[in-house]
């Protein structure tokens, strides 16, 4: 039962992240299609995107297992591996499976640039969240130490 619970919790977390990546990929696919004058998205491409996002979310959960944390070089290596995999999976699938066919070369390069920005933004958001949480914790500590 414990294994099932752990698997179920892993599934919830992975599906959540898969959904997040899928929404972003579909948004850019929709935007590119609209700019190219197409108002539809191929359902097979949607399925490919969903599977690619699921694969990336699974790999992400392997690189950063819940409850474990590394410091210094260990953390750096994992972040680098995560970034390389993100590029390989999303750029590889987009190019290999023709997700953005019809887009000009500069459009493709712009999409790659947006992907890199999104990857950096994710870590920046985590850093901001921890910074804000640290401030809240220290305010609480100060109140506690002054109050008793």
């Amino acid at each position: 039962m414990e294994y099932f619970d752990r698997f179920y919790l892993w599934g919830i977390d992975t599906k959540y992240r898969m959904g997040l990546y899928f929404a972003a990929v579909v948004f850019f696919k929709g935007l590119v299609n609209v700019l190219l004058g197409d108002r539809t998205v191929d359902i097979v491409i949607l399925l490919e995107m969903l599977l690619a996002c699921f694969a990336f979310a699974c790999l992400e959960s392997l690189i950063f297992p819940w409850g474990k944390e590394w410091t210094g070089k260990g953390q750096g290596r994992r972040i680098a591996l995560w970034a390389v995999l993100a590029n390989l999976i999303f750029i590889g699938c987009a190019w290999g499976l023709g997700w953005f066919t019809g887009a000009p070369v500069w459009g493709g390069l712009l999409l790659i640039l947006l992907l890199e920005c999104a990857l950096v933004a994710m870590w920046y958001a985590l850093w901001l969240k921890e910074k804000r949480d640290t401030a809240i914790l220290n305010q609480g500590l100060q109140r506690f130490q002054e109050g008793t």
């Binding site: 944390e69 921890e130 910074k131 809240i136 914790l137 220290n138 609480g140 130490q145 008793t148």
Partner: protein
């Protein structure tokens, strides 16, 4: 250990401990008697007992089934377990920060939120302790967050 209770007419209750040397057992008895005074009965390497006010304790940790108390200037041993320390002196600031650590919240200089739900505490002595994922929500609750 032989226990004798004498009923005699004296103005104040009195406990006399008789032993050839202060062993673990007697130190435990002393600790139990003195804990009622809101003081921690601890002893050092030379088995000299001291009564510590809970606010002098920076943190306590277990190592090989023994509990050590750190005050910043010295290290002592105590007969109480970490659970007992927290339950008896929790209201005075002692908080269970991990499986093997109890920390005095009044001696924490700063807290840093870490990934995976953990919190790093920097003590007034400069030492760093990690509040585990299991105890971090309890710390937040204790701080009123």
């Amino acid at each position: 250990m032989k226990i004798t209770v004498e009923h005699i007419d004296i103005p104040e209750n009195e406990v006399i401990l008789r032993c050839p040397a202060l062993g673990e057992e007697m130190l435990g008895v002393l600790s139990l008697l003195r804990s009622g005074l809101q003081r921690l009965c601890v002893w050092d390497d030379s088995r000299r007992t001291t009564l510590l006010a809970p606010n002098e304790v920076v943190y306590c940790e277990t190592m090989e089934d023994q509990v050590f108390v750190y005050t910043g200037q010295a290290m002592y041993q105590i007969a109480l377990g970490l659970g007992e320390l927290e339950s008896r002196y929790g209201s005075l600031g002692l908080f269970r920060a991990g499986k093997s650590v109890v920390v005095n919240l009044h001696h924490i200089r700063s807290l840093v939120s870490q990934g995976a739900g953990r919190i790093q505490a920097t003590l007034a002595t400069g030492e760093k302790l990690m509040v585990s994922r299991r105890y971090a929500p309890l710390l937040r609750e204790r701080l009123g967050l």
